[in-house]
């Protein structure tokens, strides 16, 4: 190799690895499991009804009701599944690809609320959610890092 080329490394961002099916699958899991978890939490809390936080014995009674509701635990499990798939997707693909894709979750949560809980979603709310999705997409499509890198162990 000529000396002038010996130190050259591939420029960052020029290696276009094909996105694997597993990355798309993980993003699919993300945009379903996250909203599904929130819908299950909503279902559980609606099932419990009005909650009281005061006095202290009422707070314990409310906590007991919350954590003895199966929908709440299913919701938490679903949110954990979302978190794991998010981490896995981030380990395989760029943040600037994963995060904009996850903005669809705001639309999915309204759709699941409508389908599973029979919530009435007005056209104005659909419009607002669409603008939020667009906003999150635009926010996420910017550089994910604006500060200097530092390896572990250096303070």
């Amino acid at each position: 190799m000529p000396p002038q080329l010996a130190d050259q490394k591939p420029a960052v961002g020029t290696d276009h690895k094909p996105l694997h099916l597993k990355t798309f699958l993980m993003i699919l899991v993300m945009i379903v499991a996250g909203p599904f978890g929130n819908v299950l939490l909503g279902k559980g809390m609606k099932h419990i009804g009005p909650i009281a936080l005061w006095p202290v014995p009422e707070l314990f009674h409310t906590a007991l009701k919350v954590f003895s509701t199966p929908s709440i635990w299913l919701g938490i499990a679903s949110l954990i599944a979302f978190f794991i798939s998010y981490m896995l997707a981030l380990s395989w693909a760029d943040y600037s690809f994963v995060q904009p894709a996850s903005s669809l979750a705001y639309g999915v949560v309204a759709l699941l609320g409508y389908l599973m809980l029979g919530e009435r979603v007005s056209p104005l709310r659909w419009g607002g959610i669409a603008v939020i999705c667009l906003g999150v997409f635009v926010v996420s499509h910017t550089s994910p890092r604006t500060t200097a890198r530092k390896p572990a162990g250096q303070n």
Partner: protein, 124 residues
């Protein structure tokens, strides 16, 4: 008043928690790889950071506030409103972490704010 407290807690405690965790992780530094020993080392270092515990506490508070809001309102209203965390996150990042936020990100933040306003108007 109750709604204001609940949504403020969801957005401010949630975003504040994420900022605290982010601050802790910037002190801890990047993981050198995905080897279990390296990940364990990073986790142990993270758990020694007071910012991490402050962050986890605030995120737990935000979760319980989310449960409180879901007991009153529809999920198709509550979850989109929590997108306000992008607005709080941008301001918090600038103020507390000294991050630079470009025009495109501010445009996105403005769109999120407009969208949340529309969702709020749909409440009545």
């Amino acid at each position: 008043m109750r709604d204001l407290i609940l949504f403020t807690l969801i957005v401010v405690a949630g975003t504040g928690g994420e900022l605290c965790v982010s601050r802790a992780m910037k002190v801890v530094g990047e993981a050198a790889g995905f080897h279990p020993a390296e990940i364990a080392r990073v986790v142990v270092r993270a758990l020694r950071e007071p910012w991490m515990w402050a962050g986890v506490g605030m995120m737990a508070l935000a979760f319980f506030a989310l449960l409180g809001a879901l007991s009153v309102y529809n999920v198709s209203f509550v979850v989109p409103v929590t997108a306000l965390s992008y607005v709080a996150g941008a301001f918090g990042g600038v103020v507390f972490l000294h991050e630079r936020v470009g025009p495109q990100r501010w445009l996105g933040v403005l769109l999120v704010a407009i969208g949340v306003t529309l969702v709020f108007l749909s409440k009545s």
